[in-house]
């Protein structure tokens, strides 16, 4: 049994907020820094446990979308989409997942622009599916900021 990452981070924020900040002069520039660091610890506590999960799910969703899109009349993007659709995450380190996510999202931008520029039903459906992935990703990454 050991303290979890989020527990440790909240504990750090609480110590800064309740024990360190009250001892600092109100005119100290470092007081503002201390408040920011405490807020950062609270935000990191929310992020640390979920980060890999968010990325794994989004990467999988984008790859699945690419596999379907590669069968649509997407012209020059077809080969790239087919290739990206079969990539995998090398491991579950957040840095590795983020690098894969960045490659996928870069291609997603191109696909989205292409879908928006076409009026056919397949393009409208594709645009919708892209937005659902982006919306889910934005919701999953949302944080709650403490009042400060």
């Amino acid at each position: 049994m050991k303290p979890t990452m989020d527990h440790l981070l909240i504990s750090m924020a609480t110590t800064i907020g309740t024990k360190i900040i009250p001892e600092m002069p109100e005119t100290s520039y470092a007081l503002g820094d201390a408040k920011m660091v405490a807020a950062l610890a609270v935000l990191l506590a929310q992020e640390v446990d979920r980060a890999a999960d968010v990325l794994v799910r989004e990467n999988a969703a984008i790859r699945a979308l690419f596999a379907r899109a590669a069968e649509m009349p997407v012209g020059p993007l077809r080969a790239q989409l087919a290739q990206a659709a079969v990539t995998t995450d090398a491991n579950l380190r957040v840095s590795v997942l983020e690098a894969a996510n960045a490659e996928l999202r870069a291609l997603l931008i191109d696909l989205h622009a292409l879908a928006e520029a076409r009026e056919a039903n397949w393009a409208v459906r594709l645009d919708y599916r892209i937005w659902m992935i982006l919306k889910q990703g934005a919701q999953d990454r949302m944080l709650v900021l403490p009042s400060m």
């Binding site: 007081l31 820094d33 937005w131 919306k135 934005a138 949302m142 009042s147 400060m148």
Partner: protein
Amino acid sequence: MLTPDEITRLAQHLADHLGAKHLHVSNVRRFHGGASRETYGLDVEVDGIPRGLIVRRDPADSLIDTERALEFAAYRSFADSPVPVPLAICLVEDSGIIGAPYFVMERIDGGQAESAFNSEAYGEHRTAIGTQFFTHLGQIAAVDAAASPLAQVTGMPDAATCWSDQLAVWEKVITDDAVEPQPIAMAAIRWLKRTPPPPPQRLSIVHGDYRNGNVLHDLAGRLIAVLDWEMAHIGDAHEDLAWALDPMWNLQDGEGRAAGLILRADAIALWEQESGLGFDAAAFVWWEMFATLKGLGIWISAARAFIDGKNDDPILALSGTFPLARANLLLTERLTQGLRALP
């Protein structure tokens, strides 16, 4: 922090500028939260008369890259106006005095700036502050932009393209500074280009960062200063209104009040009354989207400065977390309004 040698040179320059025989500087302290410049307060005795001054120095890096001459001119544009601003005293573009260009202005004492993320801000005075907040915003838009000192620095934009001028600025920031692909921002930029707003009813001075956190109140219900004009420019006054109403700045108000202060309809009515402009709901939809995109650009740029090691201020690190996530979610919600799956 300013070094003793820098303070000595600053005092000498101030004495020369003010024509003082004796000038003594004391109690120099840095204020937290200067997003674009380092902000110092100092007490000065000028030939025996005490004055409070503010020095705004360009930092190594910042949330917002702006020119100090522009901000200085913006302050001067509202001297002798109903908009409360400190007196702009001198602009120094010589880096030899305190290591970077700076400008000096009068310090307004007895005021407090509230964090835009403080849900308890203003307490019982929230409505009174809200009324003044939107009154002054309208007054900013009412000033003759073409005749202002700001126009001498920036020139007057073409009314037909003032929207695309601003969009180009923030598209470049996002493109240059993002460390990872930004599919939501790119979609927003494409939407903004596809659906341009109508030209403004007239060109106005736009504060550029008019929000909670950039005004001072006296803790007794009076708004006593509008600060932080570093992003001022001339354009469509709807831009300022949209920025002020962006949910990022609403004191985490769950009731949907304008800037977390007063009813949205009341805020818009005050703005119309003071500015003499009509609220254009269709144009406003565009400027709301733009405001959130601009915010996203600021957060991306700030986070980049932190990542690159140009500035280790934790406020820049924070920018890449909640604000970035909040802006992306807001853009997504707006861009997917009315979106339906085809059968």
